[in-house]
Amino acid sequence: MPEAVFVRPDSLSDVSTHYCPGCTHGIIHRLVAEVIDELGIRDRTVGVAPVGCSVLAYNYFDCDFHEAAHGRAPAVATGIKRARPDLAVFSYQGDGDLASIGMAEIVHCANRGEKITVVFVNNAIYGMTGGQMAPTTMPGQVATTCQMGRDVDLVGHPIRVAELISTLRTPAFIARASSHSPLAAVNAKEMLRRAFTYQVEERCFSLVEVLSTCPTNWGLTPAESTEWLEKTMLPYYPLGVFKTPDGDDRAPLPRKP
């Protein structure tokens, strides 16, 4: 009997997604689903989808879901978790959603120490609305609302969310990972596993920033996209664990994937 060595995680629905070819949203979905499966929490997990390319995540994850207003997923997750502390609650948010319109919600959710997990997908662009500049767009990166490239003198520098959130005093697990290579994905899954585990153990708020590609709006092929992520984003967005609830939390602990 041949043994299946690569199957769809139970926590992913058996449907095809609408993501563009080469988009790593799909990979990140899979990593999250594998972690949920492995922790055995699917039947008590509730996800919160953002407004962004992953708005339809509720169709792709095979668990109960809320679709939140743009940026408000951490508030929605707070409501769910406070109502039902026995549930495992995660939000899945893009960089426009989390770091622009929803900046207040994410900071205060983290600062209250809500025992939820945030999967923060940073693709340095507003994917869904067609490639406008995001708070995470790289200096010089061309977007439809900064057609000469991001001018940091005019609009400031890209926001490093993992670093920013990890300055909060409240205990938390904060890490940054990436999705641009198989090795990076393995590391990202480990970060997600730790994040969900902290929640399941009722320890703390957890957030994993995952660098992601948007070939469509970056105007690159999938292969060029992973290369661009590695060359341009990685130096500015270092991977690693920035904070753990155990207190070894001030200095980033860079971790090479």
Binding site: C63, A75, G79, A83, R84, L87, E105
Partner: protein
């Protein structure tokens, strides 16, 4: 339970707890701060949660989460805060979530003032936010009624799976009056279990998706018609009002709601002593508006007077209620100033004497 002297804000908070609401999310704003203050210590006593949110935007989205998870939940705010909640209220209506929102109205526009007002009538009844939805709105005129309506609001919200708003002015928040909570209170509606809620999917029901997004226009149209059916039922079954005075033979019929109606009732009683017959229709639901009651009482009265703490927002609904154009008189105070019984008495006398100017419409 025996009657207890309570401040309006506390009675509203306690009513929520009595209705089985163990979750409150809100952001401070005058003149309703006593509601969250009371619940910040009361919720933990009943094993619930109080969260001071970072903004009203966050509060309403916390309601969206908690209601979606199947629990009773409330927020309270005042006018500018309600404006910030508008997007989230629209999402709750779209996703059919039962949430209860208390608006202790203050004077506006903008930052306005902190004193009593009814300036948010349009906002409450005519489309608070984007999209084709309705908000069931209850307007108490006393602390006891506020306590009763808050409890009813939870039943109505659950029954219709729709946001319900309790609208009061600053007086409702600040006044002290005797209040009674009834131990054997039964829900005013038959409430089915919330099998649609996101409580963790154990494969014993369809997957719960709390959502207002319908990218397929045909599906969204079906959803819109489904919502419309609910609004039609509310219009049929949930209209609430009270009438006072000489409803069958009034010289003047007053239309007023909330604490303004109480002031008007004092005026009506004084005028009665002088042989002047005045009736009043008091809408208790601002939406659905008691069009029929207003029409019937107005048809038997010589003149119509609207009294409000706004520049005349409710006049639009009174005009809609009448079968044919009729003169409408209007009296208001604004900016946090209150209507006095004397002002109403003078206005009624002026109407009778033919010296009151009627409201002009182009």
């Amino acid at each position: 339970m025996a009657k207890k002297l309570m401040k309006g804000a506390e009675a509203i908070g306690e009513a929520a707890v009595q209705a089985g609401c163990h979750l409150f999310f809100g952001y401070p704003i005058t003149p309703q701060n006593e509601i969250p203050e009371y619940l910040s210590s009361r919720m933990p006593q009943v094993g619930g949660a109080f969260v001071q949110a970072e903004s009203e935007v966050a509060s309403i989205n916390m309601l969206y989460g908690a209601a979606g998870a199947g629990e009773r939940v409330m927020t309270s705010s005042s006018s500018p805060g309600i404006s910030l909640m508008a997007e989230g209220i629209s999402y709750c209506a779209g996703a059919e979530l039962p949430v209860v929102i208390v608006n202790i109205m203050r004077a506006g526009p903008g930052l306005g003032g902190i004193l009593p007002s009814q300036a948010d009538y349009f906002q409450t009844t005519k489309g608070m936010a984007h999209g084709d939805f309705r908000l069931l709105a209850l307007a108490p005129w006393s602390i006891q009624e506020a306590a009763d309506l808050v409890q009813d609001a939870f039943d109505l919200a659950d029954y219709y799976r729709n946001p319900v708003m309790v609208v009061g002015d600053g007086l409702i928040g600040q006044m002290m009056e005797p209040v009674e909570f009834y131990e054997d209170r039964q829900p005013i509606k038959e409430l089915p279990p919330k099998t649609w809620a996101s409580t963790g999917w154990k494969r014993d029901r369809p997957k719960a998706i709390i959502n207002s997004l319908f990218l397929d226009p045909a599906e969204l149209e079906r959803h819109n018609f489904h919502l419309k059916e609910k609004y039609d039922l509310m219009e049929r079954d949930e209209v609430r009002f009270a009438t006072y005075g000489a409803v069958d033979s009034a010289d003047v019929v007053i239309i007023a709601y909330g604490t303004v109606a109480r002031v008007c009732l004092s005026a009506i009683e004084a005028l009665e002593q002088e042989g002047i017959k005045v009736a009043m229709v008091r809408p208790i639901t601002l939406w659905p508006f008691p069009y029929k009651a207003v029409r019937e009482v107005a048809s038997k009265a010589k003149d119509i007077l609207v009294v409000e703490l706004s520049t005349g927002q409710m006049i639009e609904d009174v005009r809609l209620a009448l079968h044919r154009p009729r003169p409408i008189h209007f009296h208001c105070r604004l900016g946090g100033m209150l209507v006095s019984p004397e002002e109403v008495i003078d206005k009624v006398k002026a109407i009778k004497a033919g010296t009151s100017e009627e409201v002009q419409h182009a």
